[in-house]
């Protein structure tokens, strides 16, 4: 091969590799404030995930100490879209499972809230099992460069890529020993070996290495070569993840940024270059200690450190922390969602080499709960029976902002395979019903409009279709609200046919679906396929009171210079009137107390709302529901579309319930629009009744719907219940005042 060809190859590869900065992905930052529900143990988990380390005396960012329910720590600085959040030395006092107080360790002043640096949860690296944190020239500590050169290549700044004297010395030593005990390679040659060559040890490969080293020096400055070396060198293995570069090694072995390392720690890493496995501080601490002290001795001999520093450094232990088993690519299902959203706007190339910094909405605390509860509940539900192949997905979002806090694509969290949360498109069953009933409310139905829950025969997609109820019983004349709460199929089909299928599909799409397929009656019972993510979008609109909120998994994207490129801010769009949504929300709350969701155990005693979904032959089990602060959607099913013998109520609801109960959730309180009035209704006659009627219930109505314009022609006149209503409002107001 010609020199010019090799030269070209070097330039192409070196430029490419040097600038291959994989996008780094971060979780949402933890924000703590007095009153926040968070247990001290969960807090420790968050700190661990962000790579904080336990220290007895906290002195540098990233360290923390815990005494019972009291913490002292120093946060790390981090750049957010609004600017840099500086490091803060703080003290936190927990009271039970809540944050009691936060104060500055320095000024003792109380702090209203503190925002932490977020955990790094992954990167989009070209090679899946490689990880590195890339440093720029000016970010590399001088001490590291000096130590590295002293040990590996004393004449780095004076040679032209190879060192003749080095090779000669190594040659003599090796001849004397009868085997290879010393390498004569310069840092440049080592870099060439890492970058361009395979591991074979032949004379021609050695020759090529020398030529390439000379060419590299010819084309690039010493600083560029040294920087590339420091970013590239292999320093160990964490399971399947290869640890490349000093910056990542520093985080992995010491839970510190490179600039925060002590001299002893720098010496440890420099010593490991010779043999990352043999000198591994975890597996071979004795070898590592001897090697580190050897490095320190060289540094002392070369006047890089003085005697006092040398003595102090050699007396220190190798490491004071367990290695950082980081959240690196720990949440592959969520990362996939992030990647899919990013690739709509960024080129794949930019993600892998552009050095982007991506701040996401993932809440590690919620994610871990969702993961654990899905696999544990599925196991508890299926045991060792034939249903063992039951799979599932869970998505949790913020009710009023659409931020995806957790996304689980399988009960086997570690297995990075089929992402059911995004890719399992399954019939949604009764989850479609709120859309049918919402279309009904828009067409003038009230919560007491009677519906006929009796058999019906329809032409469906060219075939005769006779839907049945889940319990195979016809319930006759039922109130609108009850038919939805109890999820009666026949009443729903009749309602949908009365309103018109087009209206229902239009409502469905306004809620956030994008159904463009053929329109036929069985759609009314959810015969259309949707993924859990699509269902979440649908229920997001319901949960947020009729406001469409595009689901977001990314908060912002920065370039490699720290400049904000894109911010994905909060967006809302009203799609349904607040009054109709208020009525729908009321019924979905009844689902949890008297409908298909009443099996939910509610230890926190909070108001919640939701809907079950079950498909033919119990193939899919769905539940979508929300609290005051969160929406969660759960799907259970079999990848082969076999029956799992679980309904929405006997399957997905359990997972949902456990996820909700493990988190601290806020009760759902939907503010009552001005036009809402409450009436007591006899549950059999569906007529207004008096307060002494025990067979009655109080329901909300839209003010104008009270007289004349109900589809069934009946009207609700204001009688004794009118007075009761006013009285109730006053009582409520007193109640509000006393709260």
């Amino acid at each position: 091969m010609q020199i010019t060809e090799i030269s070209e190859e070097i330039r192409t590869k070196f430029d490419g590799k040097r600038w291959a900065l994989p996008a780094q992905v971060y979780a949402r930052p933890l924000e703590i404030y007095s009153g926040l529900y968070l247990s001290p143990d969960k807090f420790v988990k968050e700190l661990e995930l962000s790579g904080y380390r336990v220290e007895t005396d906290v002195k540098t960012p990233g360290g923390y100490s815990r005494t019972g329910n009291s913490f002292r720590l120093i946060t790390r600085p981090f750049t957010f879209p609004g600017g840099e959040e500086p490091a803060k030395a703080i003290q936190i006092q927990f009271v039970d499972n809540q944050i009691g107080s936060i104060s500055s360790t320095i000024s003792s002043e109380n702090l209203p809230f503190v925002r932490f640096d977020p955990a790094r949860i992954g990167s989009f690296h070209p090679l899946i099992h490689e990880d590195r944190v890339i440093l720029q020239q000016d970010q590399i500590p001088e001490m590291l460069k000096l130590a590295l050169m002293a040990v590996e290549d004393k004449k780095f700044y004076s040679h032209h890529g190879i060192s003749i004297s080095g090779i000669a010395r190594a040659f003599i030593v090796n001849i004397k020993a009868g085997k290879t005990v010393q390498g004569g390679s310069t840092l440049t040659q080592q870099l060439v070996k890492n970058f361009f060559l395979n591991r074979e040890r032949t004379l021609s490969r050695k020759f090529r290495e020398v030529i390439m080293a000379l060419l590299l020096e010819y084309h690039y400055s010493k600083e560029e070569i040294l920087t590339a070396y420091i970013n590239e060198v292999f320093l160990g293995q964490d399971g399947r993840r290869a640890i490349h570069g000093f910056a990542l090694a520093s985080q992995y072995y010491f839970r510190r940024d490179l600039e925060d390392l002590s001299i002893a720690q720098i010496a440890t890493l420099v010593g490991m270059v010779k043999g990352p496995s043999y000198y591994n501080p975890l597996r071979n601490p004795e070898n590592c200690l001897a090697r580190r002290n050897n490095v320190l001795a060289i540094m002392f001999a070369d006047d890089i450190i003085d005697e006092a520093t040398y003595n102090r450094a050699t007396s220190q232990p190798i490491t004071d922390v367990a290695p950082l088993k980081s959240g690196f690519n720990r949440f592959p299902a969520f990362l996939e969602l992030v990647k899919r959203q990013l690739t709509k706007e960024y080129r794949e190339e930019d993600l892998k080499t552009g050095g982007l910094k991506i701040l996401t909405t993932l809440d590690p605390h919620v994610q871990l709960i969702a993961e654990e509860q899905l696999s544990r509940t599925v196991e508890a539900l299926t045991g060792n029976e034939s249903r063992a192949e039951v799979e599932g997905a869970v998505i949790v979002t913020g009710r009023e902002n659409g931020e995806v806090q957790a996304l689980v694509g399988s009960k086997n969290i570690r297995v990075h395979g089929f992402n059911r949360a995004l890719d399992a498109h399954r019939p949604i069953g009764s989850l479609i019903k709120p859309a049918v009933y919402l279309a009904g409310l828009a067409n003038g139905y009230t919560l007491t409009t009677p519906l006929n829950d009796v058999g019906i025969s329809l032409e469906n997609d060219g075939k005769n279709w006779q839907p049945k109820n889940y319990d195979n019983v016809e319930h006759g004349r039922v109130a609108f609200y009850r038919a939805l709460a109890k999820s009666y199929n026949l009443a729903t089909v009749r309602l949908g046919m009365q309103i018109g299928l087009e209206d229902v599909v239009e409502t469905l799409n306004s809620l956030g679906a994008s159904y463009t397929g053929r329109i036929y009656p069985s759609l009314l019972l959810g015969s259309l396929n949707m993924s859990p993510l699509e269902v979440t979008q649908l229920y997001q609109t319901i949960a947020s009171g009729g406001f469409y909120l595009p689901l977001r998994s990314i908060q912002s994207v920065f370039d490699n210079k720290g400049k904000l490129l894109t911010r994905y801010g909060l967006k809302v769009e009203q799609r349904f009137p607040a009054e109709q949504m208020y009525l729908l929300n009321h019924v979905l709350q009844r689902v949890m107390t008297e409908g298909t969701g009443d099996k939910f155990v509610n230890p926190q005693q909070v108001t919640l709302a939701g809907k079950t979904g079950t498909t033919n032959d119990l193939r899919d089990s769905w539940f979508a529901g929300y609290s005051g602060d969160r929406l969660a959607v759960v799907w259970l099913g079999n990848d082969d579309n076999e029956s799992i013998a679980l309904s929405g109520s006997s399957g997905a609801l359990h997972v949902w319930g456990r996820v909700m109960n493990t988190m601290h959730v806020q009760p759902l309180r939907v503010p009552e629009p001005e036009q809402i009035v409450w009436r007591r209704i006899d549950v059999d006659t569906l007529r207004p009744t008096h307060i002494f009627n025990r067979n009655s219930t109080v329901l909300p109505f839209i003010e104008g719907s009270l007289s004349g314009n109900r589809p069934d022609g009946s009207s609700l006149d204001r009688g004794l219940e009118g007075l009761e209503n006013t009285a109730r409002e006053v009582l409520d107001s007193i109640d509000d005042l006393m709260r």
Partner: protein, 152 residues
């Protein structure tokens, strides 16, 4: 605090009847008109023009979210609307049901020139405002103002 009275009155007790009677007496005493018990916001709200200490709507403030809300109003006063938006988003994460924060978000969007979003945030605020007629009016005024400006 747990609600004293649920929507559904299942057991009609003597105590309840007594309470009802008291309430009727209360009503007959000339208080038949609906009484608004929601906290009344400060006269000056919103406060982005006001330098120094911003006013906090009574009853709607909780420590941490309010601190962020104050950040937002200060940023607005300084014309830093993007920063105000960020602080409000954080405040809303803590207190998503606070209609004043949503209204202020509408203000921010209006100042950013995102008129459509400004109107939408006002609608959101209204949907959470319950019977706070003053806040509803403030939202309506901003919506009207935007519509007037965009139509002319």
């Amino acid at each position: 605090m747990k609600r004293l009275f649920s929507r559904e009155i299942k057991n009609t007790s003597i105590l309840h009847l007594l309470l009802m009677a008291t309430v009727f007496a209360f009503l007959l005493n000339g208080c038949g008109k609906r009484t608004v018990f929601y906290p009344v916001p400060e006269e000056q709200f919103p406060v982005e023009q006001q330098k120094g200490v911003p006013t906090v709507p009574k009853g709607y403030s909780s420590g941490p979210a309010n601190a962020l809300y104050q950040d937002a109003t200060q940023a607005m006063a300084a014309g830093a609307f993007d920063r105000a938006e960020l602080s409000l988003e954080r405040a809303l994460r803590i207190e998503p049901g606070n209609p004043y924060y949503w209204y202020t978000m509408g203000k921010v969007k209006y100042r950013q020139g995102a008129n459509n979003q400004a109107i939408q945030f006002c609608l959101k605020s209204k949907s959470l405002a319950g019977r706070d007629s003053k806040l509803i009016r403030m939202n309506d005024e901003l919506i009207d103002q935007i519509r007037r400006e965009t139509s002319s």
